[in-house]
Subunit: 250 residues, 2 copies
């Protein structure tokens, strides 16, 4: 049972997900949550549960993941950052630590999250982005992609976008507050902000945007499909390595 | 013997040097030149020498390396780019290919080259830059670093900066046409343009800049040392993974 005197801590994390089986603890596999919990338990010497704002999949990255945990002993935040990083591999970093109210929960307290998906749209892939962006050599119609993006903004039932059985979620209604498609040289960035995300939702949106960008579907048709009004399209989920959990708002 | 009918080709290359023992062919080790030569020989089916503009060290990267070779059979540049990339690992990419005059030589024809050195100046390292930038957590005095940079610009004898015996080079006089120290958020970039570089010259300049930036040496003192006028300082060569061969001019 939590008491007012408990030490509740919020961590800001960045990680390169290339070498991990995602956020969530899995027996026998290296996961971000698993390695972070091991580092925390080593310091606090008690059983501790770590909560994460977003349960990123295998290969997905983060530069703004938030984690929280409660402990009995107190370690000053600056010491905690240094000590945790000393016990974590180089591709997982604790950027900040802060004491928060005891009812703070990285996942349930989150009001809004942002994911970004990076696409290198050039004949030859940039070798420095090979693990952090999708290579798409063919031309893309950004105007059409933006038309689809605008159709998805707002409060909608995104059941058609989720590839997971709906047992775990009470509702598939989500509010996308921003969905932008920006180009900077060869790099296209899709940024999605929402109050919550269904399983593989961003990667399915990106798959749909790419299909529209290649001219294989009209934005309006694809929008109707994604919002569950038509079952006429097939959308390939974009691969995980282009996806980054960018920011979480509380 | 080269004839006017020979096919002489210039390649623009980008590579992540993390997993390689540098540019130059070495028996029993994976090098960029070695893998590129294997890919070229496979296509042209003849003995071919590959020349590179800069012989980057183990762990050093490139986004603007230039290579050249001469062959008897002719392959159109677009086909060549595709075919070479199909035979190279993902961390080495041929960005462009072009036919050039038969007297073109990637190294000897180069008029000027630019190297950049990246430094993350923050308490915690950015995990996405861990193989492409040096982590320097302590504060740096950029004004002092820039004072030293200005002293090195121009035509000087840089013998004090080279860590290699001078057998191979006729002269240690080089002209630095630009040496800038820029900050963008936590990322400090040192850019050096010169008509040629001695072995480990950029990494020694960066080591000197960091020493001055930490306040361990005055810019004027360090400048006098680097230009061979005083033997009073000890400079640590900065590690290779922050260095990138950025551009070559012909």
């Amino acid at each position: 049972m939590r008491t007012r005197s408990d030490y509740c801590c919020r961590l800001l994390l960045a990680y390169d997900g290339t070498n991990y089986a995602g956020w969530q603890i899995q027996p026998g596999r290296d996961t971000i949550q698993g390695l972070l919990r091991a580092a925390v338990v080593k310091l606090f010497d008690e059983t501790i549960s770590i909560h994460g704002a977003g349960r990123t999949d295998s290969g997905v990255h983060a530069c703004g993941q938030v984690a929280s945990f409660t402990a009995k002993i107190r370690i000053p935040p600056t010491t905690l950052v240094r000590a945790l990083n000393a016990n974590l591999p180089e591709d997982i970093r604790v950027l900040k630590a802060a004491l928060v109210a005891p009812d703070f929960h990285a996942r349930f307290s989150a009001r809004r999250k942002e994911y970004r998906y990076q696409i290198v749209n050039a004949v030859v892939m940039d070798p420095f982005l090979r693990t952090h962006a999708l290579h798409h050599p063919r031309k893309l119609d950004l105007a059409a992609m933006r038309r689809l993006a605008r159709l998805l903004v707002g409060r909608h039932d995104f059941a058609a976008l989720s590839s997971k059985p709906h047992r775990e979620v009470k509702t598939t209604v989500r509010t996308i507050s921003r969905l932008s498609v920006q180009r900077d040289g060869n790099l296209i960035t899709v940024a999605v902000e929402a109050d919550g995300f269904l399983y593989k939702m961003v990667r399915t949106i990106v798959g749909a945007l790419l299909k529209v960008g290649r001219g294989e579907a009209a934005p309006e048709e694809m929008g109707a499909y994604l919002l569950g009004r038509k079952r006429t399209h097939f959308v390939t989920t974009a691969p995980p390595h282009g996806l980054i959990l960018w920011n979480v708002w509380y």
